[in-house]
Symmetry: C2
Subunit: 432 residues, 2 copies
């Protein structure tokens, strides 16, 4: 019996996973509802650039509606997921309730504090545009306050930036902040000398970029130290308080700016699915990325735990999310087209296109299969690969030119503080 | 006796007035301290564009420090003015206290609510970047909410934008919102039809743009109505509450989005100067723009009440602030150079370069001396004149190209909502 009613696919999350799925799944008799709690798709690999005043928010984000405005079959909703009723095939949102034929979970990751959620207040993570803009404002305001501040002990604290976590995000943040203070901010202030700012990168394990080959880890460390970053490996954080980071050895670092780049967990909503999760909250999916026992539900991207042939989990990087989304789109398309006939679903295989981390504006480390790059070549490779992953930007060439110009010219408008620290209008006393 | 100590000039406010003064006053034996409560200089004539998703914040703002980074004689402070001790020639800030030889007051205007400061909560004004971004977020979120909302009565309210005030700001806001909903937003939503949005412009007097020649006022009204704006002249607002605007005739408009463009007063700090002010709080300055009895203090821009030859006050527009700043820079320069010899100070004469208001993307009204333009010619004239007034942008040509492209392509990134309506991380329950 032919089913005339359109197949309804609900996609939760408009990151690389969710959006790639939407772009790739085009079926005449299917409709998609895409839900996200922000109105934009974010180019996450460059989020650290907004936090460190290298790019502006509009350079790396695009409204989801605009990206999908020509898809009459896709309805976009700005809403928050509150829960699931998987037996009834329902997703509960704050403002809507959706019934699906297929459900694609692409909710992404959240900053994880290893059981210390109270640290978040003093050490924000970097997962959203709001995160990045707040970090940027906070750091710039610390320097403004130092310029105002006569007390030199306060200067040291205000001009100290601690980054916790020596993975790619932490390395990129530390390198970019070091360059920001040594080059651009140096010229902007009169009473303080921003080149005296301390940038401290803390990593619990023996090496930065511990998933990279050891010689690249060492190269990253050297390049960071050449930029003036204090790299503290085999160093763990014991506590984070207002203006202080306490290390496991009892040492206290006085810092007005602390950023957490040490842990990513899956969205806490996975706990509501009633399936096995790993310690980071990721869903232990089948080889075809579906939930055990629920062939109509898929989990992709940072939400999914998929093991590669060597037993290691697929990393939570954008290319992985994109590849998973492609597979799920292919699977659903085949099943809808074939109707009631069971389809043998392919298993997900991650094609590792390489891993990179930038260190400042002209240095990086990159690792693609057996090839290893350092320095400027790595950085250029990184740039091109990311351009290829762009979704939703009208013209990759113009984006490339824009990023290159902005990035190398350290364009001023990336240093705006748009959050006002004070109320904007004082109440007016009526004049008699 | 020659005074070797550098003359200290304190400038309060980094808008057109304050910044023009800084750029024009270059003296070997003078130093300037410039204070502003934000870190950026704002190109105010285009602020409505950010509020209506035409341009992004970085397109129209530049950090003050960057603009003045090559001036070793200028110290920039991010601080708030709290009061004055004029006899001791001191300005009190939140974090600093400054003693001056000359004081330039360029604090600008504040949104004025005619004795109803409680309306501000429901009807924000448009004076800062923060204002514009909040208005933008609010309006976009209203449409998102309407897309989620099953109740049609709520739709009407959510998709109604009321602009109070029929001067240039109100006209520009209303026209731009009308275009936004009829063109761009139309394609972005599926359940609601943004072309059904009501844009209502309320003006108490008989005409929009009441300072313009009557035929231009009429032309502006026609162009707005052609865009679908409901123009209500001879209509006053009696009260503004959450989601409601009550008119003087008792009628109630249900609107989730209300913007106040009806009054600008001088910064309330003028009340602390101990001099005569007009009803809008503006300082009644001498012909040379100095405070009565205080030749070392000048007030310029929206803060100053200066009468022209015809008895009318100089309007609170950017060109006036720039011209006043030029005069004050000239006066102070002459006095410092001439040393103790008294200098006859020139009087301020306002050269009216013309007044314009845009209506949407290809229409406007403009009035320069005896010349009157409408339509596209007026709009192009407006664009060029504003480019000439730009301060701090590196390259006017590239800004012109950027604005033109962004403006006409309705670039998507001007529709980002960066303020998150919900907390970004839910607390994680540790897994056992």
């Amino acid at each position: 019996m032919e089913n005339k009613k359109p197949v309804h696919i609900v996609v939760l999350g408009a990151g690389f996973g969710g959006l790639t799925f939407c772009k790739q799944l085009k079926l005449p008799n299917a409709r998609i509802t895409l839900v996200d709690r922000t109105n934009h798709h974010l180019f996450q690999p460059l989020l650290y650039q907004v936090a460190t005043c290298g790019l502006s928010a509009p350079d790396i984000a695009q409204p989801v509606r605009s990206i999908l405005s020509d898809r009459a079959d896709i309805t976009v909703l700005l809403d928050n997921v509150t829960g699931f009723d998987l037996d009834r095939k329902q997703v509960c949102l704050e403002k809507n309730s959706l019934t699906y034929d297929y459900l694609v979970l692409a909710l992404g990751g959240r900053t994880g504090y290893f059981g210390h959620p109270e640290w978040e207040r003093f050490a924000p993570g970097l997962k959203s545009l709001d995160d990045a803009l707040r970090i940027r404002s906070h750091v710039l305001l610390s320097f403004e306050q130092a310029e105002n501040e006569a007390n030199t002990a306060e200067h040291d604290k205000l001009m100290t930036i601690v980054v916790v976590g020596g993975g790619p995000t932490g390395v990129e943040l530390a390198g970019s902040f070091a360059e920001l203070t040594r080059t651009v901010l140096k010229r902007d202030f009169r009473r303080i000398d921003p080149t005296e700012a301390r940038i401290i990168l803390i990593e619990a394990s023996k090496n930065l970029l511990s998933n990279f080959p050891p010689d690249l880890s060492a190269s990253a460390r050297r390049q960071l130290e050449a930029l003036g970053v204090q790299v503290r490996t085999e160093t763990s954080v014991k506590d984070i308080r207002d203006g202080e980071v306490e290390l496991a050895n009892g040492e206290i670092i006085h810092a007005a700016n602390t950023i957490w780049a040490a842990g990513v967990s899956a969205s806490p909503l996975t706990q509501k699915l009633g399936v096995d999760l790993d310690r980071a909250g990721r869903v232990k999916v089948n080889p075809d990325l579906s939930l055990p026992g629920r062939p109509e539900i898929f989990a992709i991207g940072d939400l999914a735990l998929v093991l590669q042939a060597d037993g290691k989990p697929v990393p939570g990087v954008s290319p992985a999310a994109i590849q998973m989304a492609s597979l799920v789109a292919k699977i659903i398309k085949q099943e809808v087209i074939s109707g009631a006939k069971p389809v043998v679903r392919p298993a997900f295989k991650y094609w590792d296109k390489g891993t990179m981390a930038t260190i400042g504006r002209s240095a990086a480390v990159a690792w693609i299969g057996k090839l290893k790059f350092s320095g400027l070549m790595a950085w250029l490779a990184w740039l091109f690969i990311h351009l290829i992953f762009l979704i939703g930007f009208r013209n990759r060439t113009s984006v490339f030119l824009q990023w290159t110009y902005s990035y190398f010219s350290y364009k001023r408008s990336a240093r705006l503080i748009t959050y006002l620290p004070q109320p904007t209008t004082a109440p007016l006393t009526p004049r008699n």
